[in-house]
Subunit: 125 residues, 2 copies
DNA sequence: CAAATACATCAACGTTTCTTGATGAGGAGA
DNA sequence: TCTCCTCATCAAGAAACGTTGATGTATTTG
């Protein structure tokens, strides 16, 4: 039911209210070049850490840090096999991010309805 | 020509290479709750700072800071009129962000081709 | 002109994020 | 078992980020 766009206890409907906290967290995870490079590599399929390490020329602990961030954001998952960790994309989460951006890019109804927001002041008339 | 997905001097084609630096910058701008709230308000149309200030209950200088970040990311523009600044969305930039997320969510060709990346080591066979 | 309004900018500070190098845990092979 | 390999985690420091309160600037109003 929860789709990353509205909190579990959201108001009835309205014009697609965004889960700001969740969105901020997700975009935060996407806001680093190294992490984006990882995601881009994973587009092509599962990769073990050592492959990412070589391809991105990143120190092991640095990469591990970023993989953890991505994992905690739900953007990737890992599968352990022997002594290797294989990381892969979680397409659903990227889908949620996609919807979030679209939601922002989509205008609401028509012009705004001025629902009694401004109380004092004489701004913008 | 430059669409935010490939650097100006990008390689011929390939499977939609992402501009990592630009993408990271853009997502960074989107990674704050207050800024997302601003963008969400602007979905509804142009707003002056004082309106945003009231609606978001944010200190003036705080809001000003975030508006600047959004503006530098190209997500909003401002229009001065008398002593008011009216901010509005730049839909194109949100469109670019949208494409970036889609690019990440889209698999490349088929399985990976193993183009001689790993030289030493015995990982993942 | 003086006062008030709308907003930007700045410096200082606390917080978060990122990097680095060291240590540790578990698996695989000699 | 001893050693090597892959990877995670930790602590310390550096850098980036966000908040606050003060000050500055332009504009309008009295």
């Amino acid at each position: 039911m929860y789709n990353g766009l509205m909190p579990p206890n959201a108001a009835p409907a309205g014009p697609a209210k965004l889960d700001l906290v969740g969105a901020a967290r997700l975009f935060q995870a996407l806001s680093d070049e190294t992490r984006l490079a990882v995601l881009e590599m994973l587009r092509d399929g599962e990769r073990c850490v050592c492959e990412l390490q070589d391809a991105l020329d990143a120190a092991q602990s640095r990469l591990s840090f970023h993989l953890r961030v991505l994992k905690e954001a739900g953007l990737v998952r890992d599968r352990k096999e022997g002594r290797w960790s294989h990381y892969s994309l979680v397409p659903d989460t990227l889908g949620v991010a996609h919807d979030m951006v679209r939601a922002l890019a989509t205008e609401t109804s028509g012009r705004r309805g001025r629902k009694g927001l401004r109380v004092l002041g004489d701004c913008c008339d």
